[in-house]
Symmetry: C2
């Protein structure tokens, strides 16, 4: 399945901070067909470093989408039944307006003059896209990690626009530890002299700082156990005492490779803005209680976490589930057994597929969409 990335353009978006962006563009892809009743649309929300290319093979890149193991004919998100939509987040660097975009007022990249964005702003832009596609109610919004935060934000911001919400391996608010890891990554980027206060677009990017930020990320995405299984203490082929602070262990070479590779596909300023959006995310609104966030919500929920995920630990999902249950909402929760840590939502697809397939089928069937007037 060869897929194209589309771009939708809107005149302006009002942001939570009070600022506005004009114009704003959003890159998106779709898979499958929208039915006549427009009742089979599912919005996929990507994680921190993801993009609009969730499935199929990119026409130009030739690369599979980041959730291609989950989206397609006969897969968890069966494109023979459902119409899937995935867009790049606001502040991103894969086709949606972000710090690397040209500011029409200056004819130069926004860089650090880009306004603050929040998870709610990302969701507002997604809602504009869904409106423009003529869809008044989604069958589901679904995402893992930062995508899960967006899914929860959908339930809070647009409670009547979706029949179900599927937050995976996520949280309703970033914890001190999650903020701390993001802060290390930001410091690493900003400490790179090539960052130049964000004005590097006509020069070389802060490659080393960005690579180190990504290395930290990769450690947190894996589990202690999955790292042990994948790398153990295996040495690269060299003498133990051929010691020059080059690579000794396979895990080092893997992290350096992933870090360097990331530099080619991600913008350092987007890293700063998007991690800040994550850190600001707090559906309790600072009250410590999730009650009001979901006060108007009537959708079904499927909440998924993974046993070895220590970056977004299961207790954070369980906190969400408890609040939804207290409101007597229809909520299914699965803490799936996996060794893959946070990466599980991307790689451990067998059980996820079973759980998602059943949930989507029952949501699609049970309750025909009634327009709210």
């Amino acid at each position: 399945m060869i897929v194209d990335t589309h771009v939708a353009r809107f005149e302006s978006i009002a942001l939570e901070s009070g600022a506005a962006l004009s114009p704003v563009e959003v890159a998106y892809e779709t898979y499958g067909s929208l039915n006549a009743a427009k009742s089979n649309a599912i919005l996929i929300l990507h994680a921190f470093s993801g993009d609009a290319h969730a499935a199929g093979v990119g026409r130009e890149s030739g690369k599979p989408g980041w959730w291609d193991n989950m989206i397609g004919p006969g897969k968890a998100f069966d494109t023979e039944k459902y119409f899937m939509i995935c867009s790049n987040v606001l502040g991103g660097c894969q086709g949606t307006t972000g710090p690397a975009s040209i500011n029409p007022a200056t004819d130069a990249p926004y860089a650090m003059s880009f306004p603050v964005i929040t998870i709610a702003d990302m969701v507002r832009l997604q809602k504009m896209l869904i409106d423009s596609l003529g869809i008044s109610k989604l069958l589901a919004v679904v995402g893992g990690s930062m995508g899960g935060m967006q899914a929860l934000q959908w339930a809070a911001s647009y409670p009547h626009m979706t029949r179900s919400v599927i937050p995976i391996a996520t949280t309703a608010r970033h914890s001190a530890q999650q903020i701390a890891f993001n802060e290390v990554a930001r410091q690493s980027i900003m400490a790179d002299p090539d960052w130049c206060g964000g004005d590097y677009y006509d020069k070389k990017p802060p490659a080393r700082g960005l690579a180190i930020a990504r290395m930290v990320g990769h450690i947190t995405y894996m589990s202690d156990e999955s790292m042990r299984e994948k790398f153990g203490r295996r040495l690269r082929e060299k003498e133990k005492f051929g010691f020059d602070f080059s690579v000794d262990f396979e895990v080092e070479s893997y992290l350096r490779y992933r870090g360097t590779q990331f530099v080619g596909r991600f913008d350092a300023n987007s890293y700063l803005y998007i991690t800040k959006a994550e850190d600001y995310f707090d559906l309790t609104g600072g009250t410590g209680s999730l009650q009001s966030a979901f006060a108007a919500t009537e959708t079904r929920f499927l909440v998924i976490s993974f046993t070895s995920d220590w970056l977004y630990p299961s207790y954070q999902s369980q906190e969400i589930v408890r609040v939804l249950r207290r409101r007597n909402l229809d909520v299914a929760y699965c803490d799936l057994e996996s060794n893959y840590g946070h990466d599980a939502f991307l790689v451990d697809v067998a059980e996820q597929t079973d759980v998602l397939r059943g949930f989507l089928a029952s949501t699609y069937k049970e309750k025909p969409i009634l327009a709210r007037v």
Copy 2:
């Protein structure tokens, strides 16, 4: 108790790599008095960033030692009963020969021409110090984290020179995840242009890189829970959207402060060499089995881990305990309940004190030291 740091100087030390260092100096402190039988000496082994100043108040610095809550009259290590010794590790930067020391061959700091060192090399230098103090058998060797690795190495290298070994919050071999965190820290230092390939001693040090390395460290020393309790999501006093990538959350300001503060007291090249020594540490000798490491060991063991320590998780201590039990050695094991993560061995002293006091008393009493001839 005002204490002085002493320096012992030896002509040369042969290293595991085959290289040698001449001369070599080791900074150490002692607390309490050695008894006539020289049977009450306990060697304290410090963790990664520690130093010889474990207890009392430094004469010049005016600062308390890093384990002052554990060492002193009536404390876990009761200086009215025991003679305590603590030395700075080889490769360190607090008085013991390390990369910042002057290489007599060049009259300039060793910097990156310093030879590779291992945990076994650190222990060899400690043994030279103990020999020079005229002590033929220690009552105990004890340390947490990297200090625990040294304690285990003592059991392997000099099995007849100590009556007991107390490894705390440690491992018999660094795991892929532990190596990975160290590698991120090293990359962060080496990415700082002020690092200059290690030749920064007559210029400014790689302060930003070293501070970021320390920030990563601090996250791993705390637990998710202790960070949540200490910082939560508390914002620094400023408007949420006074957004300029300066500090928003208290956890960010804490980490930056601790990172910056560290730069004043630690040498970046020591960071590189000592973390590599940790990463090379593998008492299985690459075989995956600890059997041979402890083949000649006859000492008693007290192994301590902490429930919320995810940097040196309890299973790593249990791996050690299983092997010692298989050899039918006298081993006590405590997995102490604590929320403080890896830092617990430094801050959560009440239960540790109980456990250590009893163990030391019974070791001291039960078996008078017999000289092995």
